[in-house]
Amino acid sequence: MDRKKPSRRKFIATGAAVAGAAAGALKPAHAQTPAPAASAAGAAAAPGKNIKEIIAYGERSRYVNSIREAAEGRPSPDAFGLTFHVVTPLGESAGIITPSSLHYVAAHRGFYVPDIDPAKHRLMIHGMVDRPLIFTVDEVKRMPSVTRVHFLECIGNRSNARRNTVAQTHGMTSCSEWTGVLVSTLLKEAGVQKDASWIVSEGDEEVKGASSIPLGKAMDDCLVAWAQNGEPVRPQQGFPLRLIVPGFEGIYQTKYLRRIKVVDRYYMTYNDYGHLQKDPKVIALTSQIGPKSVITFPGGGHQLKGPGYYEISGLAWSGGGAVKKVDISTDGGKTWKVAEFRTPAFRMAHTRFALPWTWDGKECDIMSRCTDELGTVQPTRAQVAKFWNEPLTPQFNVKGADNTIQVWKIRGDGSVHNANFL
């Protein structure tokens, strides 16, 4: 067996070289390329493009067309050409890693993607530290690294009566493998002084977005990421450095990180200002995301092709730690079955769950419910309304980060709809 392996590898390598040479030398599309449509024939058969795609940078199939779209409620780009909120096409997702090119994008004020030269970018650490430091990106990369899978989620990621697809109700969460240096490693290098209690993180984009983050959280598990899904962080996601605050809402995940200032109070920056609340209970429900899940198939916007076997599939996550259990109901919450995990359950990461299911063709309501490692259970909208002693109407707005259960109604014709607000 061992002796066969190299020859097999050699064969593959030779085969690839031959195929590459053939594609380069011959004008007609070679045998394995699908018959091109008339309009695409030129592009598909162009030898230069094929070579580049096979050797330099692989593209997805031209038959695969899942894309991001602007979040409902506010156009992107807006009247000023600024991007606000763009959602991940969760209805076509698989596994737990969101392709970087499909990761959701959100902005505190609206922004243009800055063009940052990593050779010129710097990260400064100062404030209440013994030794202020400035790092180049290369120096940050020389520090001891960690690689972790974490979700990000915008606090605007919430279902409402106008949102009828899983991309629109839940697409402002995505999950990536992040590689970088722990903030605790950087702060220990600088020497945090004893009365410090917060950090202010700041980006290098045009508005220099800044957020206050509890020092305890920063020292616990935050990281300064320089890679996402095995390559440098994409410019839309904060190239060359991004602060990752696992399990906290998106606005804390400072892109284009240029500065960490160690301070002794909440700084009330523009980004923080959205978190100012009178009620301490509401404050407690912002920042950290509660246990949450959504069925991504069948989900809003999908169309089932008639009765028969389907695998119900979805994502679960929690800002409190790892997902421990997911239950699924296919009868409007009367009975529940424990879903199977299809991936490892990392801390503060999407976890893929599934349940084998045969649809009888009758109208039904399906939903999922997440329990995290702290034992916290994802609530229904009705439970949350009762907690606040408010009537459960379609207008009832969940305070803080909304982690309530999403109900999908499958009609007899196989169409799937948002049933949270019926």
Binding site: P132, I155, Y266, A284, T376
Partner: protein, 198 residues
């Protein structure tokens, strides 16, 4: 047992000593100069101690608002433009964290700063770092002080067009929403958000 507890005590002394001394381990990066830190440090605390010297009045701010192009997006008097209104409108909630009408994402404009921010330092910080669109960070301290004064005057927070705002007076302004927020509770590792929440 006795030996291991002694070892543990010894280890704690060594470890504790190294933590309190917090000497660098990797010796990467360099020490920024005080000038570099000052130039980068645009985050303004609610006590305003980072505010630079300078001053401005609402009367001056009215002109700066037009000269610097603010009025092109926000409207001549801070309302009626394509960009968010800066003047409180009839029926507008001024509670902290409440989004402005037409901004239901709740992120871009959580209320109107001049009436919702507990401290005017947040306005100074944001105008200084984030405005005007396309020329962010180009305003001089006097211009930022006068723009804050102009918006506060237009929203009836300060009563005189001649009131001078500077790094001493601005942080001490009694903002209408000073008592409209509560401090964040201390974040703790592996703790649910709110213990009795469903």
């Amino acid at each position: 047992m006795r030996t291991s507890s002694r070892l543990l005590a010894f280890a704690l002394i060594i470890f504790g000593a190294s933590v309190s001394a917090q000497s660098p381990t990797y010796h990467l990066g360099r020490t920024p100069t005080p000038e570099e830190i000052k130039a980068w440090d645009i985050a303004i605390s609610p006590d305003g101690h980072e505010l630079p010297p300078g001053h401005g009045t609402a009367k001056e701010g009215r002109d700066v608002f037009i000269e610097k192009g603010c009025s092109q997006c926000h409207g001549r008097n801070g309302e009626g433009g394509k960009a968010p209104t800066l003047i409180v409108m009839k029926g507008m909630s001024t509670a902290a964290g409440r989004p402005m009408p037409g901004m239901d994402m709740g992120i871009q404009a959580p209320g109107l700063m001049a009436v919702s921010a507990p401290f005017a330092t947040t306005m100074w910080d944001y105008i200084n770092r984030g405005m005007p669109l396309g020329r962010e960070g180009s305003l001089k301290p006097d211009e930022v002080y006068s723009l804050v004064a102009f918006l506060l005057f237009r929203n009836d927070v300060i009563k005189s067009e001649d009131e001078v705002l500077d790094n001493q007076t601005l942080p001490k302004l009694k903002m209408p929403n000073l008592s409209g927020y509560t401090e964040h509770p201390e974040w703790k590792h592996a703790t649910p958000r709110l213990s009795n929440y469903p």
